[in-house]
Amino acid sequence: MSCYSDNTTATEKYHQDVRRKKFIFAGLITITFLLGIYAISKGAYQLSIRHVIEGIVGTSEGNSHLVVWNIRMPRIVAAVISGWGLALSGLIIQSLLRNPLGSPSTLGISQGAAFGAVVGIIIFDLGGIGASAALSEFSLISKFGRFASIPMFAFVGAMVATWVILLLAKLRKLSPEAIILAGVALSSLFNSGTVLIQYFASETQIASALFWTFGDVARSNWSEIGLMALIIVIASIWVTFHRWNLNALLSGEEAAKGLGVSVDSLRVQGMVIAAVVSAVITSFHGVIAFVGLLAPHIAKRVVGSDHRLVIPFTCAVGGSLLLLADTTGRLLIGSGNLPVGILTSFMGAPMFLYLLMRGFKR
């Protein structure tokens, strides 16, 4: 940093550095926004940029308005907020467990949520396909009433995985690699549970449940997107509120306690929030792997570990990454409806291996 003159104080240099990072952040938001506009215009029904803008503001009637608001926009918004939420939940997990390999999908939390969702769909017949059965008085849904919904089941599944990970992290003080191994074990347990339930299900139920195992952002409607967005915004506010505490935790648990952080309650609250966020996204969109792992790492590469900056960066990187993946899958590959979960797994696995090979510092 030789560009600074000698008489600038450390504080001035620091503020310059923060400004530079905020500028990069503004750039990232702009790119995401432009990518969103591009994604709206492309597809089976091509729209010009003028049509897109008219479609968004609603000055045009007919097809472009319909395509923009009912087909393209929900998918794009769903991709952005899912990426945002998964990235945020990955960041929370990585920071609270002090584990660079933590994320909803590497720790089995997403798989737990998917298992819960499948239990809801098949055993409690909550899927759209079994609608007639769900409405019958013999169905278990009448006992659960309105409270039994797939997100609730997904949440319970996610929480089971979260408690196991928390217990292992707390009681046995496992290393990051060992925690990931526990995550692998949990994932495979949940996956086999899912398969077991499917074995006893009817063909239509299997079809409905299998549908969940592909992570896809194209299947939620505006009210579902609204629910996800609400939960993710609340989670983002919580994390922002605790940004100093998370910074303190970077130095280790004892140092954080010495700075007055109640580490244990922070960890429980944060892990529950991360589980809720990944459960709600998984219950609507299925398992979308690796975004939650990679987005925080990309953000940390750019801005360092300071949570005041890395929280918004992670959310923006996650949102744009998933939008990019979904748009790529939609426009370049196959029928134009490739579920994004397949693509993120293909992209994510090599990057995960790269992280492991490069070695990670705590």
Partner: protein, 251 residues
């Protein structure tokens, strides 16, 4: 007596780790805690600012009970430097700014930045301000940790083995800084330390621990070879080398 500790007890699985430990410490003095590995030195330090919660005892600072305060209130009065630190790619500036955390409600104020600026100058760290902490050497790192503690503006410093990973020169540099700060700002410091020669050079008082209890609590000038022998189980000579007290094992 500004800092007074009484009857601290901590047990783990019904096994006493710290058993009825107490001492009193004036402003401007450094207390060295001596004892073999596992004597309970680190645990005692952690009990003093409730990093772990002692089962019994009281810690009074200026006639206020520390152990019943909120975490942030304790951290405004006492800075704790643990043995082990993990640092990710925080800048030195951010790492020191973290010392202001107990004082910060929502965002860092101009005053917080001023204090960080001043501390960085005192510790000769201002040219490092934007370096990532994980790129620093052990000695530089320890200085950042001390700078953070100073940014807390505490009245008591608790240091757990501050020199254990440092070379000879850095050991002296770090301890000299601590001593200078304690004398200038009239703080009290409690330091657990294994290197007896370093301890005799920089501490004013000693609390010797044996079997999780206080063996004795003495001034530097009152230390005898017999005490060291009793605490460490090894015969020693105490010699004066150009004004410094030096311990030499008799083996």
């Amino acid at each position: 007596m500004m800092f007074s500790v009484e009857g601290i007890e901590f047990s783990y699985n019904s096994h006493h780790v710290v058993n009825n430990v107490g001492f009193k410490l004036d402003k401007g003095l450094i207390l060295g805690i001596l004892g073999v590995n596992g004597a309970g030195k680190s645990t005692l330090l952690k009990c003093l600012n409730r990093v772990i919660v002692p089962h019994k005892g009281s810690v009074m600072l200026n006639n206020e009970e520390i152990l019943t305060m909120k975490g942030a209130e304790i951290a405004k009065r006492m800075a704790y430097m643990p043995q082990r630190y993990f640092e990710e790619s925080l800048t030195v500036f951010d790492a020191v700014l973290l010392g202001r955390k107990p004082h910060i409600k929502w965002a860092a104020s101009d005053n917080d930045f001023k204090i960080v600026e001043k501390v960085l100058k005192t510790m000769n760290l201002d040219s490092f301000a934007l370096r990532a902490v994980n790129s620093l050497s052990g000695g530089e790192m320890q200085k950042v940790i001390i700078a953070r503690a100073l940014a807390q503006e505490p009245q008591v410093l608790l240091l757990d083995e501050p020199t254990s990973n440092l070379d000879l020169r850095n050991q002296f540099e770090v301890m000299s800084i601590v001593r200078k700060i304690v004398k200038e700002h009239k703080l009290s410091a409690v330091v657990s330390i294994h290197d007896l020669n370093l301890a005799f050079r920089f501490a004013d008082l000693f609390l010797m621990m044996k079997h999780h209890k206080v063996y004795n609590f003495v001034h530097k000038n009152e230390v005898t070879p017999e005490m060291i022998q009793d605490v460490y189980g090894i015969e020693v000579l105490l010699a004066d080398v150009e004004g410094s007290m030096v311990v030499v094992p008799k083996i």
